[in-house]
Each structure stands twice: as structure tokens, then as C-alpha cells.
């Protein structure tokens, strides 16, 4: 018998927000009956981006029902932008914790929420590999980006953890080696990231410039080049970094996203937390 918290028990016995919303503003379905759990999430979102109503239908075990119920309770009253920040950890926390083997239920809830918000924003959520990434676990249809995201957000350390959180590798086991590769990559990156606080002391201008150049050359440029893009460091003024995106990035519609999520994020990670990136052309 699982060691479920009282909150989990309460919510699988008396789940809240069960059902459909007719004319929902966002609907998302994740999982499948073959995999053993599935969740359909319905959201009503008003003009101010506030989620006014959330309902769910779930096929799955007690913790899947409880996680779904928790999710709907958590998002109501939040704006889409606030709801986007909810992680699977938050869902598990709301439930007072879940058994390790059941963490995938919280991930399923988080996945449904993300998908619903994407569909509301009008982003493509079709089952396209280019959009969703490579499928690593064929049995449960778990993608590379999802595995990486869950590893990072939950600080996972072993293949077993990955299986508990995403179900990947839990059936035929054919993808275990792929999961291992992904896990090792993520752990290496985490190790690099963990090292940097030691070097983090007030930087002189010269030192800052050196670090910015290094980070762009070693971390950011290789990432961009994967997609046929490139970057040029144009100038620096204190903590303001002026860059120009080149190659396919220069006319990419999401270049501002790239700038924020990749360039600025990496510079903040490796150089200084308050670096500001400004695009010049």
C-alpha cells in the first residue's frame, strides 16, 4: 500500500473540479489509456488573463486523480503568466508530497497545464517531433525535452528517478541507455553550473569582459550554431552587453526569446546575475 498523505487521500476520495467546461478557453489532453494514466484539463481564462475556472477528467490511480484536483485548485485565480510558473514540485508540495514512484502524476499535471497554456496562446501543440522533441521512451511517448526539464526541475540523479518522474524506461526498458546519456549530459551541466559560485566575486571590468567573451564563445555560440545561427559581441558598458544575432537568428521571429532565454540567461549564469543583454543590429 502506498504511503499517501492525508491530502492525497482526501483528494482522490473527494476530488474537486471534476468535469468538463463547455466553451473552455483552453483544453489539453496528456497521457493515454494504454499508458495507464491520462488527464484532460479545461481552463476558462478572462480578458485579463486570469484563470477563472479549471476542471479535469482523469483516468488513473489515486495520486493521478489527486494531482489533477490539486492542479485545478492551484491555478484558479492566477493569471496565465503566474500559472506558467507552477512546476510539478509545486503540485507535489500542495499534496504534502507524493511517493517517489508516483511523482510522474505531478509531472502529468504540469504537462497538461503547459500544453493548455500553449494552446491558449495559439502555439502549435500537435504531435510533431520538431515541436515536442525526439521521443525517447516509445512505450510511454516521453520526449527528450520533457526528460531534461524534469531532471532539472527536480534535481534528479538516477535513471530510476527519471522513470519515477516521467515513466520513461518503465516498460520494455529499451531506452534506458538513451536516458542514461541524457542524464549524464544534464548532470555534467549541473556540475559546471555548481562550480561557478566559487569564482563569483565582484568583477573588474576587464574580468567581466573576459568572462562574457568566454561564455559567448564556449556556451552560447555552440547552442545557436546548432540551429544555423550565430552571435557577435558588439560592445559592453558596465553590466550592459550589446550583441548582434547573426545567421538564421538575425531574421528569426523568436530572436527576442533567444536573447532573453539563452543569451542573457547563460551570461547571468556564468558571469554575473545582473547582466543585461541588449540587441543591436
Amino acid at each position: 500500500m502506498w504511503d499517501y498523505t492525508d491530502k492525497v487521500k482526501e483528494l482522490y476520495i473527494h476530488p474537486k473540479n471534476v468535469g468538463k467546461i463547455e466553451n473552455a478557453d483552453a483544453v489539453a489532453e496528456v497521457g493515454s489509456i494504454v499508458c495507464g494514466d491520462a488527464l484532460k484539463l479545461y481552463l476558462k481564462i478572462d480578458a485579463n488573463h486570469v484563470i477563472t475556472e479549471a476542471k479535469f477528467e482523469t483516468f488513473g490511480c489515486g495520486s493521478a486523480i489527486a494531482s489533477s484536483s490539486a492542479l485545478t485548485e492551484m491555478v484558479v485565480g492566477k493569471t496565465v503568466e503566474e500559472a506558467e510558473k507552477i512546476t510539478n514540485q509545486d503540485i507535489a508540495k500542495y499534496l504534502g508530497g507524493l511517493p517517489e514512484e508516483k511523482m510522474h502524476c505531478s509531472v502529468m499535471g504540469n504537462e497538461a497545464l503547459e500544453k493548455a497554456i500553449k494552446s491558449w496562446k495559439g502555439e502549435d501543440i500537435s504531435h510533431d517531433e520538431d515541436v515536442e522533441g525526439e521521443i525517447i521512451c516509445q512505450c510511454f511517448g516521453v520526449t527528450d525535452p520533457l526528460i531534461r526539464k524534469v531532471i532539472r526541475e527536480n534535481n534528479l540523479k538516477s535513471i530510476e528517478d527519471v522513470t519515477h518522474y516521467t515513466k520513461a524506461g518503465g516498460a520494455c526498458g529499451a531506452c534506458i541507455h538513451k536516458i542514461e546519456d541524457i542524464l549524464n549530459e544534464e548532470l555534467d551541466q549541473a556540475a559546471v553550473a555548481a562550480k561557478k559560485p566559487e569564482t563569483r566575486k565582484p568583477l573588474t571590468n576587464i574580468k567581466r569582459m573576459q568572462l562574457v567573451e568566454e561564455t559567448i564563445t564556449d556556451v552560447i555560440r555552440p547552442e545557436l550554431q546548432k540551429d544555423g545561427g550565430d552571435i557577435e559581441l558588439v560592445d559592453m558598458d558596465g553590466k550592459k552587453v550589446f550583441v548582434a544575432l547573426r545567421g538564421s537568428c538575425s531574421n528569426c521571429v523568436v530572436s527576442s526569446v533567444t536573447l532573453k532565454n539563452l543569451v542573457e540567461a547563460k551570461l547571468r549564469e556564468f558571469v554575473e546575475e545582473d547582466i543585461e543583454v541588449i540587441e543591436t543590429r
Binding site: Y12, E29, D37, A38, F56, E57, T58, C61, T163, G170
Partner: protein
């Protein structure tokens, strides 16, 4: 805790009060070692012998020394296979079925890694063994065939007599895992022509921690453990005397009830018919006519087994499920998968297993609360149309 409606007797059973009475003296005053020279221990040895006879009688064994007491059903299974293959070292092939208990399957997986060739005989949609497949798999290299008597999840009985006759002719050792059959149906090792047969006490009202292996006289095998002369060196170590006495008593009581007790089957059938009639979206897993009389496995479509169990638990009902979630694995049980149970109900299969202590009121209670359990989960299910009261088409 309130009184539980216990319908999970294939997992374990209540120790019969008569069994408790029989074993209690051996937990207190009569603590002698059966191997001792003095009569304080020697008398205990005589009681152990009597228990051995009782177990031999339950299995139809000709000689009481053909019974070896072990710790568990798993130990009996392991000893049967390991003991046999370590004698026939040049034979590297083992035949078993796809629906065996993990005690056999995990061992076979390990032996596969060690270089053994393992044939897993398939079952059909009703859980019946493909006996032609089994027969055609036997060759000169086959060291042992190990097949269960009755399946733990569906209760389906395998044609062990036919297999036994076939293997006897070819001189291939035959082991039967009878853990789910012992005490539920009459067993006769001489009619079956098996060489080895495993049983477990706690499945038929003895306590946990006692099992036995029937070893036909003349069967060639090696022990797995080395030590004293207990069990004629086949299973050394000072005997679990209270457990052995309990197993003997449980065997005796089982024989009495097997003679004329049809109540368990009547209640099982009432439960099964009642549930199948109440729920259009349910069906029976397993061959209706070739089953042990205490087990029914029912698949509920569009809802998930662990959720069903948890709600049943709220109504004080204990049963079990072949669903993935309830076991901690991520796939439905290997038995249901081997049978090809459709995905719409594989995750929603519930096993009810009765015992001779099951009573009518318990069955009535289950029948009266199951609609609430099932309907609550159907209402939540994304695969169920609540207005039309039917399943929705599922796109994969």
C-alpha cells in the same frame, strides 16, 4: 479498524483458529529440537512426522519422506529448479509459461543471463496454456519443465495431467508451482505424474514462513544449502516446528473442506455474476470453466485499478488489482498482457479471491457498494460519456 471484507485470499489468508491452537504449544512449552536424543525433543520430532504425513495426504504423495519443508513457496520453486538443473548440468533448456509467478520468472530471467535457453509458453485470450506449443518445445536438452497448477491472478487451471503424462514418457523432470491450487482443489501428484510440486502454507490458512516441496522418490537433484541432516540433507537447518505443525493442520483441514464444501464457489459465482450484470463495461478475465473455485478477475473498462482499490478500501473491502499503479511497476500485470486483455480494461482489472471464511453478507456488501465506486470513477474518466453512459471512442 472496522471489520474488513477480505477478498484478497490469493495474496494471503487468515490463519485458521484451529491451526493457531495446534501450533501454539510449539511456541511455548514444547520447544524441543526434533533432532535431539532426549524425548523432550524427540517427541516434537514425532509431531513433525505427523505433519509431514498430513501434507503428504493433501498432495496424494505415496511416501511422507517425499515432502520437504521449506520457508516459502518461492523457496520451494527455486529449490525445484536450481536443484534439478544443478544435477543435469549438461542440459541447458528450461520450459515455463509466460504467466508464472515472479518466483519462477525472475529465476528464469537470471538463468537466461547465465546462458540457459528458456522457452516461455504463451496463453490464449482466456488464459489457457498453449499445450501444443509446450509439447513441441521439449527436446533432448530440456532440463526441467516448470508450470503453475493454477494462475494467481485469474485462477485458470492448467492441464497438468496431460503435461505430466507427456513428460513422463520423455523422461523430462516436471515441476508444478501449486501455490494457488493447494487447498483449493484436490491434488494428486501420482495422477499428475509430476516429479516436484511447490506449496505455500499462508495461501491456505497456515501462517506465513512455511512452505513445502514435494519431491518424488528417485528424483535426481542437488540441495541448494548445505548443513545438517534435517529434511534428509535436502533442506538443512533446524526446522520451523510451529510452522510445520501449522502446515500439517492446515492441510488436514483443507482436505476436510475440499470434500463437500461448495459454499466458496457459490459465493464467488454470485459475486461474479452480480458484478458482470451490474456493469455493462465489465468482463471476466480468464476461462470461466477451468478455474479454482475462489478466484474471479474482472476488468472494468475506462477506469483504473488502483483508484478502484482505494475507493473499495474506503468501503472496507480488500481486493487486489493487476493494474500497473497498484504494483509500483508501470505496466499492467504480465499475466493480463500475456492474455492480450484489451488496453481499455487491462489497467482496470480487479481480482477478488475468497476463502472458506467468506460469508454471504460480505459478497452482498461488495455488490451494494461497487456501483458507487465504479460510477464515481467513470464520472472522472475522460473516456466516459456521462450523458450517454457509454465509453467514448479512443484515438491512440
Amino acid at each position: 479498524m472496522e471489520k474488513v471484507v477480505y477478498l484478497d485470499n490469493n495474496a494471503t489468508t487468515m490463519v485458521d483458529p484451529e491451526v493457531v491452537d495446534a501450533m501454539l504449544p510449539f511456541l511455548s512449552k514444547r520447544y524441543g529440537n526434533p533432532s535431539s536424543m532426549h524425548s523432550f525433543g524427540g517427541d516434537v520430532g514425532r509431531d513433525v512426522s505427523r505433519a509431514r504425513e498430513q501434507v503428504a495426504r493433501l498432495l496424494g504423495a505415496e511416501h511422507d519422506y517425499e515432502i520437504v519443508f521449506t520457508g516459502t513457496g518461492t523457496e520451494s520453486d527455486n529449490y525445484a529448479i536450481m536443484g534439478t538443473i544443478s544435477f543435469y548440468r549438461d542440459r541447458r533448456h528450461i520450459i515455463t509459461s509466460r504467466v508464472e509467478h515472479p518466483a519462477i520468472l525472475s529465476l528464469c530471467k537470471k538463468l537466461e543471463r547465465d546462458g540457459y535457453r528458456i522457452t516461455y509458453v504463451p496463453v490464449d485470450r482466456e488464459g489457457n496454456l498453449d499445450i501444443q506449443f509446450l509439447k513441441s518445445s521439449v527436446d533432448d536438452d530440456t532440463a526441467i519443465v516448470s508450470i503453475m497448477y493454477a494462475n494467481n491472478e485469474t485462477g485458470v487451471i492448467f492441464p497438468v495431467e496431460e503435461i505430466g503424462a507427456f513428460l513422463k514418457e520423455r523422461g523430462v523432470p516436471f515441476h508444478i508451482d501449486a501455490v494457488q491450487a493447494a487447498g483449493k482443489i484436490p491434488i494428486d501428484v501420482n495422477k499428475i505424474n509430476c516429479d516436484l510440486l511447490s506449496i505455500s502454507g499462508h495461501k491456505f490458512h497456515a501462517p506465513k514462513g512455511i512452505g513445502a516441496l514435494y519431491v518424488r522418490r528417485g528424483t535426481r537433484m542437488r540441495p541448494m544449502m548445505y548443513g545438517g541432516h534435517q529434511e534428509k540433507g535436502r533442506r538443512p537447518g533446524t526446522e520451523n516446528v510451529p510452522g510445520i505443525i501449522a502446515l500439517g493442520k492446515a492441510a488436514e483441514l483443507a482436505m476436510e473442506h475440499l470434500k463437500d464444501d461448495r459454499n466458496m464457489q457459490r459465493l464467488r459465482d454470485k459475486l461474479e455474476k452480480g458484478l458482470l450484470a451490474k456493469f455493462g463495461n465489465s468482463h471476466l478475465n480468464g476461462n470461466r470453466d477451468r478455474r479454482v473455485p475462489n478466484t474471479t478477475n474482472i476488468g472494468f473498462e475506462y477506469i483504473e485499478g488502483e483508484a478502484i482499490l482505494l475507493l473499495m478500501n474506503e468501503f472496507g473491502i480488500a481486493a487486489s488489482s493487476g493494474s500497473a499503479c497498484s504494483s509500483g511497476s508501470l505496466e499492467p500485470s504480465h499475466v493480463l498482457r500475456a492474455m492480450g486483455v484489451p488496453f481499455t480494461s487491462a489497467h482496470g482489472s480487479i481480482r477478488f479471491s475468497l476463502s472458506r471464511f467468506s460469508v454471504e453478507e460480505e459478497i452482498d456488501h461488495v455488490l451494494s457498494v461497487m456501483p458507487e465506486v465504479v460510477n464515481r470513477l467513470l464520472e472522472i474518466s475522460p473516456y466516459w460519456d456521462n450523458e450517454k453512459k457509454q465509453g467514448l471512442p479512443i484515438n491512440l
